[in-house]
């Protein structure tokens, strides 16, 4: 009773009413007191004065009371809202426990959607959004050389050019240079070939990074002749080889013939210039003995405050022109290319991949929302009576909507909770694919922003999928709904559900088309003839120390010895070596200027350039390159014999179309500018990737190479199982020179697979999302059709009682579904035609509008829709008419 009165007051009180109430209360007191005093015999005038005197200043108390009363009302309202929310939550949870099947399906669906979205967001954020782990990374740029006249879009800068830039520029704080290679690490334990980066001593200062343990080397230190030669090692090497021993810092190690002291250990996030670098050592790239033609450095610069990359480019281009005046043969036509480091690390391809994946998960999330909305709509028509009763009992629309939205939020949050778990596992999975060509996956984890993201996504989806049912609940009139009983059909709700299913089909189609195009592109790549054998070819690297093998002759001896050993391995049919294997980015891969017979010389600086390779006898046979004309190299091609050259078909056609290239000469401009006689033509090989046309190539025999590298690749063709061959190769390496073991043993097949790894990664993920979308759409269609059938039980019973046959009924129910799905397919095809333009860059020999894919996917979706509808349709067709008519 009291409670009721109090509630009424609370509701009635408005600011004006509040003022009036306080006035009335104080007024009552004063008037009552005057009456009392007058009863005691006071005159009215005296009584009034006495009442006021004993009361004090009414105005003061009035103001105080109003403030307190206002305060009270605010608190009460807040408490009421909190109470309502709590009540709604409890109500929602109770409802879900009564109907666990519904709640389970909804929460699982949401968790999948939120989990997938969060996982992709986490990886994408880490890769394309997070700043690089350097100090003020936005000021860092990569500097390349380029030669537009020779159509060389980018090349590495040469050490003397770098040195000139460093000391003469006006736009950089400083520039650093590096080069990478491999060396043999010997320090008591088993010798190991390690990946080494040769850094200009100021590199760490330019990047603004420090070691995780110990310290890095500085330029001042390196200039000091008394300080020991220092090396910084990677976290990986430190753990792998030194077991994470803190005493590793200060330890002395041998790299080839050099003795170095370990100064520090870098964090795993430091991946300059490559991910697999084990040791960073200082190196003098400013040594005047370096050649201007040897373009082998990577140069990173830190821009001065306020300098744009474009301004830095024009500054360095001025220097480049000045250098070209002094050294025209080396620098004519070479300008620079300045690229922000972030763009360099995260190329346009990577960005496309992640935007694509984000788009795909967003689509999945849409379908998830549609499905849950569908579930809720189905439930809300079943709960129509409950809702109408509540409305009739006086629950306001606002309260009812807030209760329905609370239910959605509870579902959304439960989905988010589970989804974060799925995201965590998903991120693990994504990273474990470890796709080459996708950078920065070292330290991805679900945390902070990702958790907020998951929460935001769940709230947003809850709002989206909760809106439709809530609106329907509000719109349905109390009386109509009560009359309709639980069978209330709600034509509006039905329309919404059909529209949702249509949208699901459309969105699934877009995803399926995307995945289908990528798969077809992969298939096309797979059927490309690479021009060499991928099966049965084992490859390995070696990196000799130039102190132990100073001259070309020493190296030839080692290589020939090694090849002999390799050919003795049982099962081996051919063995050879080359400076660069196809599909392997780790080779020494560069172009040299040449002049071919029958082509007049232009000016010195404008000589054409093409791929230059060193190959041993047996190499072409080992990788299975076909000989089109003439011969390949033999052991008779020695340093002192006539210089011979093997070229590929593209090159031959380019130089002498329709003529016999054998016997013609090509002058290669390198150490000595001497003519080489073409003795053979080999078939073209896809060198840089299956989707990239073969470049023009020339091969010189190992024994005649003007400069024989210490870093070479062996290839071995064998029959039978590969594993014993690999083991035998490893042993052979140790036997020939235990100081320089063979390493990076792999197969050519794996190298080829690696080039399509990114595409397969995208196709796999997109395919998984598309499949998820398809499944969800099927579940959605099934749900809607089942619900339609359930709602129309009586109608169907009537039709059957009136003589409709089962076939017609089945066609009727299925027909509606196919109409719905068909509309979705048409809609989706339109959207897909627009959307697939984004994947154009990832496709190989497949059009973004590939009719086969579009048609196939459309048919697939119609088929799935039909299957999803057929069970409820059959149920309708086999209904007992009498029972159906009685049903309520």
């Amino acid at each position: 009773m009291r409670k009721g009165m109090r509630e009424r007051i609370t509701r009635v009180v408005r600011p004006r009413a509040l003022v009036a109430e306080v006035d009335e209360e104080l007024d009552f007191h004063l008037r009552g007191r005057v009456d009392e005093l007058m009863e005691e015999g006071w005159s009215e005038e005296d009584a009034r004065a006495e009442a006021l005197r004993s009361f004090g200043d009414p105005e003061r108390y009035r103001v105080q009371c109003r403030a307190i009363a206002h305060d009270r009302i605010v608190r009460e309202r807040r408490g009421e809202v909190m109470g309502n929310v709590w009540q709604d939550v409890r109500f929602a949870v109770r409802g879900f426990r009564r109907n666990p099947g519904f709640a389970l399906v909804a929460v699982m669906t949401l968790a999948l959607g939120i989990g997938a979205t969060t996982a992709v967001f986490t990886v994408a954020k880490n890769v394309i959004l997070d700043p690089l782990p350097f100090e003020e990374p936005e000021d860092l740029v990569m500097v390349w050389e380029q030669n537009t006249a020779q159509s060389i879009p980018r090349d590495n800068p040469s050490p003397p050019n770098y040195t000139d830039w460093r000391y003469q520029n006006r736009t950089f704080v400083d520039l650093a240079a590096m080069r990478d290679g491999s060396m043999t690490l010997t320090d008591g334990e088993q010798p190991e070939v390690v990946q080494v980066a040769y850094l200009s001593p100021n590199t760490f200062e330019v990047l603004g990074v420090d070691a995780r343990r110990g310290r890095v080397f500085t330029e001042a230190e390196e200039a000091d002749a008394d300080s020991p030669a220092l090396a910084v090692i990677s976290d990986g090497l430190w753990r792998r080889r030194y077991g994470g021993d803190p005493a590793t810092i200060g330890r002395t190690v041998r790299l080839n013939e050099f003795v170095l002291e370990v100064a520090g250990v870098m964090p795993p996030s430091f991946t300059v210039p490559r991910r697999d670098i084990d040791i960073w050592v200082p190196s003098d790239h400013e040594n005047p003995n370096h050649h201007r033609q040897t373009r082998n450095l990577r140069v990173i610069g830190r821009l001065a405050a306020g300098v744009t990359p474009a301004a830095a480019k024009s500054d360095l281009d001025v220097l480049q022109r000045r250098i070209a005046e002094s050294f025209p043969e080396a620098n004519e036509g070479w300008s620079v290319l300045v690229v922000p480091v972030m763009d360099e690390v995260v190329g346009a391809g990577t960005r496309t991949v992640f935007l694509l994946l984000l788009g795909a998960v967003a689509f999945v999330l849409l379908i998830v929302s549609a499905n849950v909305a569908n579930l809720l709509l189905g439930r809300s028509s079943a709960r129509r009576t409950e809702m109408s009763v509540r409305a009739a009992l006086g629950a306001s629309r606002r309260r009812m909507v807030s209760q329905l939205l609370t239910e959605s939020l509870v579902l959304g949050l439960a989905g988010a909770l589970l989804g974060v778990g799925i995201a965590w596992a998903g991120v693990r999975l994504l990273v474990s694919f470890d796709p080459r060509g996708l950078p920065r996956l070292e330290e991805v984890s679900v945390e902070g922003t990702s958790l907020l993201f998951a929460l935001g996504v769940s709230l947003l989806t809850a709002l989206v999928f909760g809106m439709a049912p809530a609106m329907h609940a509000v719109r349905s009139s109390v009386a109509r709904a009560l009359k309709g009983g639980s069978r209330g059909r709600g034509a509006g709700s039905e329309r919404t559900r059909s529209a949702l299913v249509m949208a699901e089909v459309a969105v699934s189609l877009v995803l399926l088309v995307g995945a289908g195009l990528l798969l077809r592109s992969l298939a096309a790549l797979g059927s490309v003839e690479p021009g060499f054998d991928t099966e049965g070819v084992t490859v390995a690297r070696v990196s000799l120390g130039s102190a132990d093998y100073p001259q070309n002759e020493d190296r030839v001896v080692y290589f020939e010895d090694m090849l002999r050993r390799l050919r003795e391995i049982p099962g081996v049919r051919a063995a050879g070596l080359t400076s660069t294997l196809p599909m392997d980015p780790a080779g020494i891969d560069f172009d040299l200027p040449y002049l071919a017979e029958g082509h007049p010389a232009r000016s010195e600086g404008e000589l054409p350039q093409t791929d230059y390779r060193i190959a041993s006898p047996g190499y072409f046979e080992a990788v299975g390159m076909d000989v089109v004309r003439g011969r390949t190299f033999t052991d008779l091609d020695r340093a002192e014999t006539r210089r011979v050259l093997v070229i590929n078909e593209v090159f031959a056609d380019q130089l002498w179309p329709g003529e016999d290239p054998l016997g013609k000469t090509v002058t290669i401009y390198y150490v000595e500018n001497t003519p080489w006689e073409v003795v053979g033509v080999v078939a073209d090989t896809r060198h840089r990737g299956l989707g990239v046309d073969a470049p023009a190539q020339m091969f010189v025999p190992m024994a005649q190479a003007e400069m024989l590298f210490t870093y070479m690749h062996f290839a071995v063709q064998s029959v039978g199982p590969v594993a014993p061959v690999v083991e035998a190769m490893r042993r052979a390496g140790v036997e020939v020179d235990s100081k320089y073991p063979l390493y990076a043993l792999s197969t050519l097949e794996a190298k080829v697979a690696a080039t399509t790894q990114r595409d397969r990664f995208v196709a796999t993920l997109l395919g998984a999302f598309a499949l998820l979308a398809l499944t969800l759409a099927a579940v959605g269609i099934h749900g809607v059709v089942a619900h339609q059938v359930a709602c129309r039980t009586r109608e169907i019973g009537l039709r059957m009682a009136l003589g409709a046959n089962r076939g017609a009924l089945l066609r009727h129910v299925l027909g509606r579904t196919m109409l719905m799905a068909g509309a979705g397919v048409v809609l989706g095809a339109g959207a897909a035609a627009l959307a697939t333009r984004t994947v154009r860059g990832l496709l190989f020999s497949v059009s973004p509008l590939d009719p086969v894919t579009f048609l196939g996917v459309g048919l697939l979706l119609m088929g799935v829709a039909c299957l999803a509808a057929v069970v409820p349709a059959l149920r309708a067709a086999h209904m007992d008419p009498a029972g159906a008519l009685r049903s309520d």
């Binding site: 306080v22 209360e25 009552f28 007191r33 004993s54 009361f55 108390y61 009371c65």
Partner: protein, 115 residues
Amino acid sequence: MSPRIDSTSLYGTLNLLILKAVAGGPRHGLAIARFIRASTDDSLTIEEGALYPALHRLERDGLVEAAWGTSENNRRAKYYALTPEGEARLEREREQWLRHTLAVSRLLEAGLERI
């Protein structure tokens, strides 16, 4: 007239008195003032107006609740009644007050003996 006492220093006491006043059943402000006057023999006189901010505060804090009703002379009046929380508070305050006064009087007695 007894000397005026600053009502603020009596805030705690006043609250206690109000709670006690409405413990017997719903009362309006005038009746509460009358009750305080009568039960303290006018020795604890405060400005009667100060009663109202105190009442509103108690209402806000949920110790009393209010409802409009009709007074003995047929006027609309705001009645205050003790809530369960108010009842509990009154009991607690009462005990504390008794313990406090008992302790103070003991101290005063003991002190005298020792002097």
